[in-house]
């Protein structure tokens, strides 16, 4: 418990420090020379990086150093005349950081490096998807491509959580299921709204994704209350979406009554499932 509290305080401190430092950096950016900008980012990043090796309590400093490295590498590109906000440049930097932290995880087997690798890899995937892969599709698909990326990332996070079962990285699984489950189910709901032309197919996909969530949460390797909670939330949301879709149907009143019963049943089954799961864990 004490260890957890120390870790929470350390990470909270790191995030608050980073917010202050970045606000100060962006406010004074124009008055700084290029050398000072590099020292403020890459130099400070290096200091935090080496300090983080001193004790496990200082581990959150890796997070600060990773963000400072990212900003510093952007400044190197800007200094050489590139527009660092372009997806291409963002992709190069995030890809390099992904490989760097991946290599460090292989060498030292510390979970912080796996977390940074996942963050770097996710951003790399987003830049690659939006900047390059989306160009293979039509204009409309390009516009909604971020939703597809949500779907892919959600799936990958859940897959990683599944793979990390009983490994040194198992501690990361709740966070992966939290983001993965949420992203995947939210993406399916948004996609249904984007493709309302193929309604019946998407109605099945909507409900299917929720049932997939329920099944996944009960897999022996998973047993995740987080995915179960997400599935229940999205069952309610998706039923609401479907009800709105068929708003002008004559059977609306019957659907409303049905919806009420389904909600009561969903709540009841959620309670039963949670109880069952708690007794198993």
């Amino acid at each position: 418990m004490k260890t957890l509290l120390i870790k929470i305080l350390a990470y909270l401190g790191a995030v608050i420090f980073l917010m202050g430092a970045l606000l100060s950096f962006s406010a004074h950016f124009e008055s700084l020379s290029w050398t000072m900008r590099i020292i403020w980012t890459l130099g400070a990043g290096l200091i935090f990086y080496y300090l983080a090796f001193l004790s496990w309590i200082l581990e959150p400093l890796f997070l600060i150093s990773a963000i400072l490295f990212f900003l510093g590498l952007e400044i190197i590109f800007s200094y050489l005349g590139f527009d660092s906000s372009r997806l291409f440049i963002q992709g190069i930097i995030s890809g390099a950081l992904f490989l760097n932290y991946g290599l460090m995880f292989i060498l030292l087997r510390r979970n912080i490096f796996m977390s940074l690798m996942i963050i770097g890899g996710s951003y790399f995937l987003i830049t690659l998807g939006n900047g390059w892969f989306s160009s293979f599709f039509n204009t409309y698909t390009q516009q909604i491509f971020p939703v597809y990326l949500m779907l892919i990332l959600g799936f990958l996070y859940c897959l990683l959580g599944f793979v990390f079962y009983k490994t040194t990285c198992e501690i990361l699984t709740p966070a992966l299921y939290l983001f993965g489950g949420g992203l995947f189910l939210a993406a399916v709901s948004i996609l249904e709204q984007c493709y309302d032309g193929h309604q019946l197919l998407w109605d099945f996909i909507l409900l299917g994704s929720v049932f997939l969530g329920f099944i996944f949460s009960f897999l022996p390797r998973v047993k995740s209350k987080i995915v179960l909670t997400w599935s229940t939330i999205f069952l309610v949301i998706n039923i609401y979406i479907l009800t709105l879709t068929y708003l002008h149907n004559l059977a609306w009143s019957w659907i409303l009554m049905g919806l009420g019963i389904v909600l009561i049943l969903a709540g009841y089954f959620y309670w039963v499932l949670i109880k069952k799961m708690s007794s198993k864990i």
Binding site: G81, F82, R86, L97, L107
Partner: protein, 187 residues
Amino acid sequence: MSLKKYRLAFVLISPFILFLIIFFIALILKNNAQLKYSFLWSVSDFQAYCEIKKCPLRDHFFIQDNQLKKTQVPSMSQENLYFYDVAQHQSTAMSFEKAQHLKFLNALNAPQGFKLIYALPFDRPPFPFNFDPELTYGSSMFMKPSFPVALEKNHWQLKIYDQHLSVQTTGTLGASENLKLLGWVAA
């Protein structure tokens, strides 16, 4: 040294390796976009709205047989010529009379992949701290802030015109129809 010490040593120097790799990638991209020739470019300044057939006749410039030519077409915009001198690293306004004596490279010898764009000011905080909605999306197409003109290749940008031109097109940043790279001048 034991394997563990080698691993630790590598981890300790890995940020420097990362910085060097990124620096060399940036250098390679920049060198690939190295500018060797001077060039003539034009910007169309919006004058006034008019029905396209009733618009006054204005100069329209183009390259034919490696020479600058002009024709007159009804247009809402006035096209102005600029010459970018690669030796002096600056653009200067140029009259048609002077520009028509320039000898241009033919399409086969001309450098490829360059385009003229309206760029954001170069000296600004890195992403994501550089987003300024007022700068990127002005309140109306005629009240947009002005942007420097840059030549771009491989995402590397060379600022070619410091005195900001007013962007009076419906687009925001990036490539614009009122910027034209007319031709590369033979050395």
